[in-house]
Amino acid sequence: MSLLANSTGAEAGSVRPRHHMVALVVENKAGVLARIAGLFSRRGFNIFSLAVAPTEDPRFSRVSIVVDVESAPLQQILDQLDKLVNVVHISELHPDAAHEAELLLITVSAPEPTRAALEAAIAQHGARVLEATERAVTALLAGDPAALDSFEEAMRPHGIVELQRTGRIALRKLGAAGDAP
């Protein structure tokens, strides 16, 4: 089983209308991630991306899941997640009501003829060069997932050697309506 078994991660672009950001606060207990992943797997729900880390309170972790609602109605996904005993709070974060961010690390081949163009593109997207050799450049970009998408597209013609994205994380905007977790 792959976490992304049914996802369409091969397609370009990570921000799509049928994607919804679900923010969970979970008890920091052994196996909680397996419970969430197992639920998605056995119910046939699709995960596009998933990020998990402890919160300011060591008893809880925050899980940000981008779900694909083509597989099941969002409400059904939320209701099933709510049945997991270790899931303490669930909210769906609409992009307009949330700060969303993601981190991207990329290594791109950088032969002499196109190197200047590559460096210009990296600078233009506001990415930071972490390492540069004669053959390749590794860069980092943090920010809005759509900006990461466009940076990834700009790098593609140069030849992506390796790419790692963290998946989206989000927090509700201070002024937004809805219950605070």
């Binding site: 052994a30 196996g31 409400q75 209701d79 099933q80 049945k83 270790n86």
Partner: protein, 577 residues
């Protein structure tokens, strides 16, 4: 007071009021078996761990309390996975304790090690791996709370051997604090008003009552609701006993082998009042053709059921009893006139008259095939000759459907079967558990010959533990339901379904297990044999009923078909619908 973890576990079970444990010891659970000697809890030693789980289910189904099973690690744990899945599907409160290898050995492929919490994650409401003996009291209290509240279900506690042997200062459990667990209670007032308005306006309403009525102890509330509204009732396979079946407002059981009237009433309804039920595929048939003109009020304590299969017009996430009370309160002042349903009730009565459950009686049960009896006749006689409060338990297959069709349940918790998972072999161990839970009631298991062969060894348990259950094997020498599908949908190409009527010899086998056993192969033997079986109360009884193997279960909605295409008994096929 300092105790071992094992002692703390048994003490915690005692504190929960546990009367009986169904189990089988082994290496990793060994320390916990020592304090059982000194405990007030009765331990029933099963012959296979699957039997422990199903016995605990049977106990839970008839008592409404959590059933408890205890097994060892590795194969003990994997053998109990089927009962866990069964209990998960049918929302049965279970607490299952599995031994586990010592904490330091976990992950090393130790002897009899499996990842029990990982394996059972998808078939439990929740599970625990106990990591410290100091946590035992709290974990046990949480497990019972989770198993028995909200939508009931199985909870597993995996208990490493070193934790069992560790020493801990005994303390009472802390009040249960589960920040992520809050089952709904009272219904939303606005939703109740909206539901009341739909009920008042409906002219062809049906109450679609499921197992949730029984779990919520809402049978009295349901009766009041029916008295108030006059709406006729269907009860699902898991909901049988939720409404007295001698009441003329009971239409029967819906579903693949439901009665014509129950199935068709739902198809023609303008309103379904779904109470504690989950629109199972065996009830709905093809979902997009199910009850196409009906608005739906759906009450369930599990919010995720509301809209999982069918989008309700009024969803109510609440305890069934509280929701029905609220509906009654909202409807009371409206003064619903009984005449509003007059035409509908007359239509239903006409269907019932034209399409009763039937079989080829061929002169009072005389079968076409010599040496056999009709299974439906056996069930009618068994119902007639046993006390009204008898608990009926069944396995899975044709015999289960005949039992559901030809028995009449008047009381809640008098019917025990494997509904959602369809677990063959459920009946014998579940009957044993039911009899332990209700020793005052007569317990009959109706089993198939295929099912019986899967778990019959638990009759040894029944004899040894003096649990006088009675088993009626409807022996047609076939895996009958599979045979029926091959008959209907595979052009009578019977593949791997023949079992033989006398291999094994069920009478001698039962006798070898300490039971009294009879064989019945003619209609006139049915009554005297049941009478004899009913009189035996000091050991289990097995009756090998040789039944007509050509018999099919009718009506039937073919898999994937619309409920409108229900196939009735051949003798009714030409009748106008």
């Amino acid at each position: 007071m300092e105790l071992t973890g094992a002692q703390a576990l048994i003490k915690s079970l005692e504190a929960q009021g546990v009367e009986v444990l169904f189990g089988l010891p082994g290496g990793a659970i060994l320390p916990v078996y020592d304090p059982i000697i000194d405990s007030s809890i009765r331990h029933v030693l099963v012959r296979h761990e699957q039997g422990a789980g199903h016995a605990a289910e049977g106990y839970a189904q008839v008592t409404g309390r959590a059933g408890v099973a205890m097994v060892t690690s590795g194969p003990g744990a994997t053998n109990v996975v089927t009962p866990l899945a069964d209990a998960m599907m049918d929302s049965i409160p279970l607490v299952v304790i599995t031994g586990q290898v010592a904490s330091a050995a976990i992950g090393t492929d130790a002897f009899q090690e499996v990842d029990t919490t990982g394996i059972t994650m998808g078939v439990t409401k929740h599970n625990y791996l106990v990591t410290s003996a100091d946590d035992i009291a709290d974990v046990v209290a949480e497990a019972f709370h989770l198993a028995t509240t909200g939508r009931p279900g199985p909870v597993l506690i995996d208990f490493p051997k070193d934790v069992a042997n560790a020493r801990t200062a005994w303390r009472e459990p802390r009040p249960v604090d589960l920040p992520g667990y809050a089952p709904p209670g009272a219904p939303d007032e606005e939703a109740v008003q909206a539901a009341a308005a739909l009920i008042a306006a409906a002219r062809r309403p049906v109450i679609y009552a499921g197992g949730g009525i029984l779990k919520a102890n809402a049978t009295e509330a349901l009766r009041r609701f029916v008295d108030l509204t006059g709406i006729p009732v269907v009860t699902t396979l898991m909901g049988r006993g939720a409404f007295p079946e001698s009441d003329p407002r009971w239409l029967g059981m819906p579903g693949m082998h439901g009665s014509y009237t129950a199935v068709t009433a739902m198809q023609q309804a303008d309103l379904l009042v779904a109470l504690g039920t989950r629109f199972d595929d065996r009830v709905t048939g093809r979902v997009d053709a199910f009850a196409p003109r009906a608005k739906v009020i759906h009450v369930d304590i599990d919010r995720a059921e509301l809209g999982k299969v069918r989008r309700p017009d009024v969803p109510i996430a609440a305890d069934c009893c509280a929701a029905i009370d609220a509906l009654c309160e909202a409807l009371g002042p409206l003064g619903l006139a009984a005449e509003r349903l007059g035409e509908w009730i007359a239509t239903l009565a006409a269907w019932r008259e034209r399409f009763p459950l039937t079989y080829d009686r061929s002169d009072s049960g005389q079968p076409a095939v010599p040496g056999t009896v009709k299974p439906q006749f056996v069930l009618e006689e068994l119902r007639r000759l046993t006390p009204p409060e008898t608990v009926l338990v069944s396995g899975v297959g044709q015999h289960q459907m005949w039992a559901a069709q030809f028995w009449r349940f008047e009381e809640p918790r008098s019917w025990v079967n494997s509904g959602g998972l369809g677990t063959m072999g459920f009946a014998v161990p579940a009957a044993l558990g039911a009899k332990v839970g209700r020793p005052d009631k007569m317990v009959w298991a109706v089993d198939g010959d295929g099912c019986f062969q899967m778990t019959a060894q638990e009759l040894v348990t029944a004899t040894a533990e003096r649990i006088p259950v009675k088993v009626a094997i409807l022996n047609n020498a076939y895996l009958g339901m599979v045979r029926q599908w091959q008959h209907m949908f595979y052009e009578e190409r019977y593949s791997e379904v023949y079992l033989s009527p006398d291999l094994p010899d069920y009478v001698r086998w039962a006798e070898a297990m300490g039971c009294v056993a009879f064989r019945v192969s003619a209609p006139e033997e049915v009554e005297p044999t049941i009478e004899k079986a009913n009189e035996i109360d000091d050991r289990p009884v097995v009756v090998d009923f040789r039944i007509d193997s050509m018999e099919q279960v009718y009506p039937m909605v073919p898999a994937g078909a619309s409920n409108d295409d229900i196939v009735v008994h051949p003798s009714q096929a030409g009748l106008p619908r």
